[in-house]
Amino acid sequence: MDITTQQYKHCDLVAVKGRVDSSTAQRLSDTLDGIINDGRHKIVLDLSGLEYMSSAGFRALISAQRNCKRYNRGEVILVMVPQNILSALELAGFTTLFSLFDDLTSAVGYF
C-alpha cells in the first residue's frame, strides 16, 4: 500500500494505492488521523489506484468519517472507487455514509 497526501486550500487529497488489509490498514488510519489532528477535516480520498480493501480498511474509513463529520466541520469523500471495492462498499451500507465522485476536479470542487 502506498499513500500520498497533498494539502489544498480547502481540502486534503489522499491517494491510496495498492492493497489495504489488516496488516496495512493501520497506516491508512494513522495518515487520516494525522490530518484530522492537524485540524483539517475535509478529505478527498483518491481510490483510483486501490487494488484491494478488506473490512480493516473500511473500519479506518468509517472512523475517519465519524471524526470529520463531528460538529459539521468536514467530511471524507471518495473518488474513483474501483468496481470490486464499490460492490463491497454497497454491501457494507457505506454508500449512504460517503459521497462518491467520478473525477478529482469535481471532488476537490465539492469543498
Binding site: 489488516s22 473500511f58 468509517i62 460492490s87 454491501l91 449512504t96
Partner: protein
Amino acid sequence: MVMIEHLEITAKLDNLSTMRDFVEQQAKQFGANERQAFALILSVDEAATNVINYGYRGNPGLLEIDVEREQETLIVTLKDSAPAFDPTTIPAPDVSLPLEARQPGGLGIHFIRQFLDKFSYQRSADGKNILTMKKYLTKGEKA
C-alpha cells in the same frame, strides 16, 4: 484430473497477501472470473484475519489453505489449530444504521456471507477449526 492446491503459512497478518495471491492464482486457474476470484480472496482474507487476531491471539500457529474445484464449485478451505471457534455464529451487523451508531465489528463476516454461496464450520477430531467457503462458478452467482 485432480484440481486441488495446498498452501501452508505461518499465521501472521504480514502473510495475508501471500495467501491472497495463492488463492487468486489457483481460483483463476480453476476457472474463476475476476469477480468470483475477488469474492474468494476477500472471504479467505477476512476469515484468516479473524483466526490470527482472535484465534491464535499473537501465539504462533499455522494456517492451511486448500483451493479446490469440484464440478462447478470452487471451494476454499481454511484450517487452523487455534481454540475452537465457529465464526458462522457471529451475528450480522446492521448496515443500515447511521454513521454514529455503526459498530466496528462483524463486517468481515458480513462480506463472507454476502459474497459467497456457502460458508460452513466444523471442528475436526484432531482439534482443528475448518472453514469451508464455496463459490459457484455458474448459476446462483451472487454479488
